[in-house]
């Protein structure tokens, strides 16, 4: 199934470090991360609490900048870009899925999915088509007019996935997407991600849960801000057979 993983590098981190300075205390959240992610890969990032998973993800998602090191996204170095340019890249290249769904409470399901597309200045007709397509994909088209508060957690997360998908991003970044869900809903979301992976999406997912980590093709283990282990998961092994 690795046809999509055509060996083309999508994300390349070289010696990325992140140091937080609070009240004279330096926290080394990341220390010299090297990471290559190819197009079409499904990577899980695991590790104990506080090891720097979210920090890594926020750097990958251009929500934050590394203190040091190189980040090349789609063969383009992204440090030193203006805030506006970073926002533009987030909008086009990256889809976010958050642990706490982060749907905007005042907007309907439809409007939530539509939101990143409006920032892109996409014509209304095309937006409509994309939103509907994304909602179909996650099986939430019938709830398009609902407000997030009227949905269950699992449904909210599916909408969040739709929102991440609608813009055809180069990579989906998910930070503990099942963290706020019970196991049944969690499974459903994981299945959804897996299906997306099968249709060619690149996914980087942070998770504690070994059960879910197994869904991914490749697993990166962090400890204290460093990559301590990289492995192909059993599943990956199974699949590549």
């Amino acid at each position: 199934m690795n046809t999509e993983t055509n060996g083309q590098s999508l994300i390349k981190l070289e010696g990325v470090t992140k140091v937080f300075l609070t009240d004279e205390v330096e926290t080394h959240a990341l220390s010299g991360i090297h990471l290559d992610i190819l197009k079409g890969e499904y990577v899980s990032i695991a590790g104990p609490s506080g090891c720097g998973k979210s920090t890594l993800l926020s750097i990958l998602g251009l929500l934050d900048t590394p203190t040091d090191g190189q980040y090349v996204l789609n063969s383009r170095p992204v440090q030193g870009l203006s805030l506006a340019e970073r926002a533009r890249i987030r909008n086009r290249e990256i889809g976010f899925i958050f642990q706490s769904f982060n749907l905007i409470g005042d907007l309907t399901v439809y409007e939530n999915v539509d939101l990143p597309l409006t920032y892109r200045g996409m014509p209304a007709a095309e937006r409509k088509q994309r939103v509907n397509e994304a909602l179909e994909k996650v099986g939430m088209a019938h709830r398009a007019k609902h407000l997030p508060s009227q949905l269950s957690g699992g449904q909210q997360q599916r909408v969040a996935v739709a929102r991440a998908l609608a813009g055809y991003p180069s990579v989906l970044l998910a930070d503990e997407p099942t963290g706020n869900l019970d196991s049944k809903n969690g499974d459903a979301v994981m299945e959804l991600l897996e299906n997306l992976h099968k249709t060619g999406s690149t996914i980087v997912m942070v998770t504690h849960d070994h059960r879910f980590a197994r869904h991914a093709v490749r697993s990166v283990h962090l400890f204290d801000g460093r990559v301590v282990e990289e492995s192909a998961t059993t599943k990956e092994a199974e699949m590549s057979l």
């Binding site: 998602g61 506006a84 890249i89 909008n91 642990q99 905007i104 939101l115 929102r163």
Partner: protein
């Protein structure tokens, strides 16, 4: 009590909030209290006499006016025929020259009144005695009672003044009493320095066509104004039947002394000020309600816990309410201090009877008002937040990390409604202040039809006892005019019985020769003045047709009149008025129109005159005792004062020149109150605008703070700086737009009231609304811009953070 302790403890934990709240409230309460103390002194406590609600004025009404004095014989008939009054007195305000040995003559202002005046008012002299009824008879009335301040100022408060003599208008009067300070009521009488008896001369008993008797009376116990009015109607119709020629369509009317003593313009403006200052306070309250709401919801978990522990709604609301009341009372105390200070400031600049300075006390009424206002504001801004906070369901707030519990939709709606109200109120405040300001400016510089610059004026009074006949008056006028004209630097000199500053004092009905008769009383009304020949040239009232009065005009020569264009058009439309004849209904003599002049508009009167028709009679043919001197000069007008004084003193050593000044100064003194009102309104507008801008800022800040996460998410999804700014500004703009839509009708309503109050003032039109809307929007946008900018700088990483 424990709630009170709790309130102090909570407030001391957020001193910033407590200080801001008390300052805002204090300012709001100060403005309201100060405005109310003006209304209190000018409208509610105008009449400082015992049982003042029983003191009434009786007026003659005509088709054109409702406040005319009565002719002596009619007034005396009313006194005899009526049974509704415990006592009834006639009076007129009067100037006299007071000359004391070794001192220059000085014009003093007093009251000439029936002896009954003191029982009408319920004030008796505290030294000496009051007048006896006998002293109303001719030859018995050379007695005088001093006002308290005259006694203090001129006689050093010496109790032995009673029975001393005093020279007034060159006559010797005996001081029979001294009035207590409680007699003073400058808003009713002006600043009175003495009272002397009004003599009922023999010929008064039949004098029905010349009206100058003002009437004041005290209603009998148990008689209401309605009953008294009924009796007056009967008397009026009997008079009309008995003397149809003199009475015509005139009626009689009763009104309380307080409302008779205040003109509508002042009344409306004062209440408008109270209302507008109240609006500032409302804006302040709305802001505090918003702040309290935020604080209440910040503590919603505490509330849920209390309610889980069994607290009832009352128990939940009490602490917040007590806290609000504590703030309100603190604000109230501050407000009273500020109001006392601002009253002092206003009092120093206010003009009563053209004299600056008037005490505006903070009395019991005002204190009660301030206290009530403080309590009501406390409830106003405390109740709704407490209610909403107490509604948070226990289960809801105990949920760990449940989002949205910090800002329920009802509190969100309430905040939006509050800010919309604030914006609407701010528009009204700014609208009234700017309309008023622009109108005052225009009014000050409007074309009055004559030239108010470069004029000297002063007033003289020829005492009746020495200028007993017309010939003496004429001689005095002629000599005086000759000498004044000869003064170096004087281009024109004139005398007139009144000037077009506030009003031409005498209004008379007139008929034209050869026209169909008009029912008595319905004849056109004209403002009239008796003037010397050079009057028009002096004031630069333009001649439109014919000629002015000739200097050579003889008293017994052809009776002439100069009319204004409005009168000519009204009486002889489309015809040449020159040579036409008219007659005042109170006089049988026909007058020939020799000239037509432009209208002289009243320089300081904000009210629409009851007639625009004006007629001038030559002073030689209608000699007067009270006169204004007017000089047109190329010099500084004030500099003429000593020379004028000398000329008058040389003619009559006992005759002072009162209020010698440049006419322009005189006008400005009279308009000072207008500027004071303008300054007050501007303060209201500024405060209102500032407080509501702060409110808008607060609400938008809170809104963005509550949404930091949403904003972070939007940024993670690729929202640009401008998208976020736009989002927040859009919220602000929506509130602003609704606020303005609500405010515009109120703006027009307020402008309508202003126009009603001051018809002579031209209110600016649509352009000012446009300017106000733009200015208000600019302020509102600035208030939203700051939180918007902060929001747009949100770190998108917050989106990743779990709660």
């Amino acid at each position: 009590m424990s709630n009170l302790r709790l309130a102090f403890r909570t407030l001391s934990k957020s001193p910033g909030f407590a200080i801001v709240a008390m300052l805002t409230l204090g300012l709001g309460i100060a403005l309201s209290t100060s405005a109310f103390s003006l209304a209190n002194i000018f409208l509610l406590r105008t009449v400082p006499y015992p049982n003042s609600d029983r003191i009434v004025r009786l007026f003659r009404t005509t088709p054109q006016t409702r406040n005319a004095p009565m002719a002596p014989a009619n007034a005396l008939d009313v006194r005899t025929a009526s049974t509704s009054y415990a006592s009834l007195a006639f009076f007129y305000q009067d100037a006299a020259s007071l000359a004391e040995p070794g001192q220059p003559a000085q014009q003093v202002f007093g009251l000439t009144a029936s002896p009954a005046i003191f029982s009408v008012l319920g004030v008796q002299p505290f030294l000496g005695r009051s007048f006896t009824p006998k002293e109303e008879q001719p030859g018995k009335s050379k007695v005088i009672i001093l006002a308290h301040r005259t006694w203090m100022r001129r006689f050093g408060g010496d109790p032995s003044v009673v029975n001393q003599q005093l020279r007034l208008d060159g006559d010797t009067y005996t001081i029979v009493g001294v009035l207590p300070a409680s007699f003073d009521a400058p808003l009713v009488w002006g600043k009175v320095e003495f009272v002397r008896p009004l003599t009922i001369e023999k010929h008064f008993l039949t004098l029905r066509n010349n009206a100058w008797f003002n009437t004041v009376a005290r209603l009998k116990e148990g008689v209401g104004p309605g009953q008294a009015q009924g009796e007056l109607n009967t008397i009026a119709s009997r008079l009309a039947k008995d003397f149809p020629q003199d009475i015509g369509a005139d009626g009689l009317r009763i009104t309380d002394l307080a409302s008779a003593s205040m003109d509508d313009t002042t009344r409306i403006i004062l209440w408008l000020m109270v209302a507008l200052s109240g609006m500032v306070l409302l804006i302040a309250c709305a802001n505090l309600a918003s702040l309290q709401l935020a604080r209440a919801f910040g503590r919603s978990r505490e509330y849920a816990l209390r309610s889980a522990l069994g607290a009832g709604r009352g128990n939940l609301m009490a602490p917040l309410l007590v806290e609000s009341l504590v703030l309100a009372l603190g604000g109230g105390a501050l407000g009273i201090l500020l109001a006392a200070w601002s009253n002092e400031l206003i009092g120093r600049n206010v003009n009563i009877g053209s004299e600056p300075g008037f005490a505006i006390p903070i009395d019991g009424h005002v204190l009660v008002f301030a206290l009530l206002v403080a309590l009501i504001s406390g409830l106003a801004f405390g109740l709704a937040p407490a209610w909403l906070a107490s509604r948070t369901p226990a289960s809801e707030s105990l949920k760990e990390g449940s989002r949205g519990s910090t800002a329920g939709p009802s509190s969100q709606r309430l905040k939006a409604a509050l800010i919309i109200g604030e914006i609407a109120a701010a528009l009204v405040l700014v609208g009234v202040a700017t309309s008023f300001g622009v109108a005052v400016k225009k009014f000050l510089h409007r074309d009055v039809g004559w030239n108010t610059e470069g004029l000297f004026t002063g007033n003289i009074a020829l005492p009746w006892n020495r200028y007993t006949d017309d010939a003496r008056c004429r001689d005095f006028h002629r000599t005086l005019l000759d000498r004044l004209s000869a003064l170096p630097g004087v281009d024109h000199a004139a005398l007139a019985d009144s000037l077009p500053v506030y009003a031409y004092n005498i209004r008379r009905n007139l008929v034209a020769a050869g026209q169909a008769p008009v029912p008595r009383g319905q004849e056109p009304l004209a403002q009239t003045a008796a003037v010397s020949p050079d009057y028009f040239a002096t004031l630069q009232i333009p001649l439109e047709q014919g000629r002015f009065f000739a200097a050579s005009l003889k008293p017994e020569g052809p009776a002439e009149v100069v009319v204004n264009a409005a009168l000519a058009r009204r009486m002889w439309p489309g015809e040449n008025p020159i040579g036409k004849r008219l007659r005042f209904v109170d006089n049988n003599q026909w007058l020939e129109v020799v000239g037509v002049v432009g209208e002289a508009r009243m320089a300081v009167n904000l009210s629409e005159p009851d007639t625009h028709l004006q007629a001038y009679r030559p002073l030689v043919q209608e000699p007067k005792h009270y006169l204004a001197i007017v000089l047109r000069t190329s010099l500084s007008p004030e500099s003429l004062a000593p020379a004028v004084r000398q000329i008058v003193a040389a003619l009559d050593a006992d005759m002072p020149v009162a209020q010698p000044a440049s006419l322009r100064t005189w006008i400005e003194v009279n308009l000072a109150n207008l500027n004071l009102v303008a300054a007050n309104l501007a303060t209201f507008a500024f405060m209102g605008l500032l407080i509501s801008a702060l409110g808008l800022y607060g609400v938008i800040s809170q809104l963005t703070m509550q949404r930091t996460r949403d904003i972070g998410v939007r940024m993670a999804l690729g929202a640009q700086y401008g998208d976020i700014i736009g989002l927040i500004l859009h919220e602000g703009a929506t509130l602003l737009a609704i606020g303005l839509v609500v405010g515009v009708p109120a703006y027009f309503a307020a402008n309508f009231v202003l126009h009603r109050a001051m018809p002579e003032m031209a209110l600016p039109g649509w352009w000012l609304l446009g300017v106000n809307l733009v200015a208000l929007s600019a302020v509102a946008f600035t208030a939203c811009w700051l939180p918007a900018r902060r929001a747009a700088r949100t770190d998108p990483v917050v989106a990743l953070r779990a709660e």
